[in-house]
């Protein structure tokens, strides 16, 4: 890396990088270009910019947004509520649980709980998928709360599934926070819960941002769980479920499918533009620690 590269090598490397970038970004270009065309326009020329017009783009957008299978704003609101609330609760409850586990490492019960969380990370969703729906249906019926086909039920499910990774990463971090800090707080008359919320929780900011990104991206893009819990024809849908339900009924109208894809992609791209550094760092940390 410290070699002084020859100009020719650098030029070749730049060209390769550009070619790969064109290849990687090509599908995004396809989405943008073809969401401003008519169906016949796509059949005539799927690659060029010529067939599209801004008027047609506005037309497609309004068609898709108001489509009864898609209902973009409603799906967007559901996805946003589910993701934000799940991530916030996972951060709070995850940090609370991780703190208790890491401060009782020597005790048997803490070790058992920690092991259960770690071991559950290898459980694939498929093995719990069907009994999960049955359990949620039965528990919901028993206690009189709607758990399937409801947004609170989805959030509860993500608390269950996201808990293991969250607790794992947070426990690893809290173990590194010196215990002296808590002891001196406790000597100064701070209660255990006060110690946690005033001393420990503020120290967790960097690792909380990692956990937020990992959980947030996973929950926002997740398809299988919401499709099982909410159903393709239910009243509430997340964006991936809405896309699937929409494409299922409009598969030949590629201009509308591309518009739906565009609407589904845009929120993530906007978030990425603003928090690129945090997202990249969070993804790396998650992989290396997980």
């Amino acid at each position: 890396m410290n070699r002084t590269p020859k100009k020719s090598i650098l030029a070749v490397e730049t060209i390769i990088a550009i070619v790969i970038a064109i290849y990687v970004l090509f599908p995004f270009y396809m989405v943008v270009v073809n969401s401003s065309k008519t169906t016949t326009g796509i059949i005539n020329d799927p690659v060029g910019i010529v067939g599209g017009s801004f008027k047609q783009f506005a037309q497609n957008i309004s068609d898709v947004i108001n489509n009864t299978h898609f209902l973009f704003w409603r799906a967007f609101a559901s996805s946003l509520i589910i993701t934000v609330v799940s991530v916030l609760l996972l951060n709070l409850f995850g940090a609370m649980a991780a703190w208790v586990i890491s401060r009782n490492q020597s005790k048997k019960w803490a070790a058992v709980i920690y092991f259960a969380y770690i071991a559950s990370m290898i459980i694939p969703f498929q093995v719990v998928m069907l009994p999960l729906i049955a359990t949620y249906r039965d528990v919901g019926k028993f206690v009189g709360l709607q758990l399937i086909q409801s947004i609170p039920g989805m959030i509860f499910a993500y608390l269950g599934f996201g808990g293991s990774m969250t607790v794992f990463i947070l426990t690893g971090f809290i173990k590194g926070v010196p215990y002296d800090l808590e002891e001196s707080a406790s000597i100064d008359g701070c209660s255990p819960e006060g110690t946690f919320f005033r001393i420990i929780f503020p120290l967790l900011t960097p690792v909380i941002s990692t956990v937020t990104i990992l959980n947030g991206m996973w929950i926002w893009n997740d398809y299988l769980l919401p499709s099982m819990m909410l159903g393709l024809a239910g009243k509430d849908k997340t964006i991936p479920v809405a896309v699937q339900s929409f494409v299922g009924s409009y598969v030949t109208q590629w201009n509308l499918v591309m518009t739906a894809a565009l609407l589904a992609i845009i929120p993530m791209i906007i978030v990425f533009l603003f928090c690129q550094k945090q997202i990249v760092q969070g993804m790396i940390d998650g992989a290396v620690k997980g």
Binding site: I101, L130, P131
Partner: protein
């Protein structure tokens, strides 16, 4: 600490603090109020559970149960017992996540493994059938085909994604301009969910490439369709693996590379003899990341081909699920065929395979750490 030393009483610091904090001075009325809150919470809980148990259809029982849980937690929190205060805080802190975890993961897992030995139809269990489901699934050619397809897909992916990810990482650690832009754009596909990009690629394969190259779509025949899924998967995943390799490569100490350069190593030798061995742990991480994630591949498979594709003759029968991987096969067995018990048995096998992979992963990465 100094504060404690000044005190003459031989009291351990912790006990002293707790005495100061919660000791006898607490006014009696508050204590009684705390007891009342706890009792009220438990009463609410019990009443709503009794209502549930008796099959009441009243709409208040749900909210009442939640109120009962919350009031009980408040009661435990306020319970005037300095001796157990810390233990109670621990219980309260562990409760929310553990409760969701048990309802969502533990109970369905236990039930699921149990259901795989019965004739469960999604609602009730009639008979215990032993290993019948397992025997049946092993006799079904389309399931065996799914296992083979998944294995092939995993092998191709692990090799190709790591190769491309590593090459991209090498490219992104050179001195070319606008490196940040290239890194960001290579990573970009990873942000988008598999369903959406599956449909985008379906459009590219079916409408764009056929037009540009004047050929039939790759998605037509089973083997080319599998290739298409691999292409999409590499497109989505290589950027992420690249990021991890970049972290590994930039972590290689500069003096090692300099020392090699002084000894006259060319850049190829530096790469193979210095950089690759130094990032061996990163290779392990990336290998297992791609291994588990491509083994669980579902979204792209569903959106791109939905598992369709014909296979002329496999184990003596004609198959229509040429590109159906395990995760999708399990899903379709339950949802399309409505065969819940069989699907559950397949899922248990899927789980065992994944567990074996994970155990091997833990073993190998532990060994690597020792040898370093």
């Amino acid at each position: 600490m100094t504060e404690i030393k000044e005190k003459t009483k031989p009291v351990s610091p912790k006990a002293k603090v707790e005495e100061d904090l919660y000791g006898g001075e607490k006014p009696l009325p508050k204590k009684i109020a705390d007891y009342i809150i706890l009792v009220a919470g438990i009463a609410l809980l019990v009443i709503s559970l009794v209502m549930d148990g008796m099959g009441s259809e009243s709409v208040v029982r749900g909210p009442m149960l939640i109120a009962g849980i919350l009031v009980t937690i408040a009661g435990i929190y306020l319970f005037p017992s300095p001796k157990y205060h810390r233990a109670m805080i621990y219980v309260i802190f562990l409760f929310p996540l553990l409760f969701a975890f048990i309802i969502t993961v533990i109970i369905p897992l236990v039930l699921g493994i149990g259901y795989s030995f019965t004739d469960w139809d999604g609602i009730r269990v009639r008979n215990f059938v032993g290993f019948d489901n397992y025997a049946r699934m092993m006799k079904r050619p389309e399931f065996i085909w799914s296992i083979i397809v998944t294995a092939l897909f995993v092998i191709f992916n692990v090799i190709l994604v790591n190769l491309f990810g590593f090459l991209l990482a090498l490219l992104c650690t050179t001195k070319i301009k606008a490196i940040g832009f290239f890194r960001a754009s290579y990573f970009l596909p990873n942000l988008i969910g598999g369903i959406v990009l599956g449909y985008v690629w379906k459009f590219i394969f079916n409408q764009v490439l056929t037009k540009m190259l004047n050929t039939v779509t790759l998605l037509n025949a089973s083997n080319t369709a599998l290739m298409a899924i691999v292409i999409v998967y590499i497109w989505q995943y290589a950027g992420y693996i690249m990021l991890i390799y970049i972290t590994g490569l930039t972590g290689v100490p500069q003096d090692c590379i300099e020392a090699a350069a002084i000894d006259g190593a060319n850049s190829w030798q530096t790469l193979t003899k210095i950089k690759v061995p130094m990032i061996a742990p990163t290779v392990t991480i990336c290998t297992f990341l791609t291994l588990t994630s491509s083994f669980k591949q579902f979204d792209v498979n569903l959106a791109l081909t939905n598992g369709t594709g014909s296979v002329a003759n496999f184990m003596g029968s004609y198959l229509t699920n040429g590109t159906e991987m395990l995760a999708l096969n399990i899903y379709n067995t339950a949802i399309s065929e409505n065969n819940y018990a069989l699907s559950q048995a397949k899922a248990v096998l899927f789980f065992i395979l994944l567990a074996v992979i994970s155990i091997i992963q833990v073993r190998t990465s532990n060994k690597k750490e020792v040898s370093l």
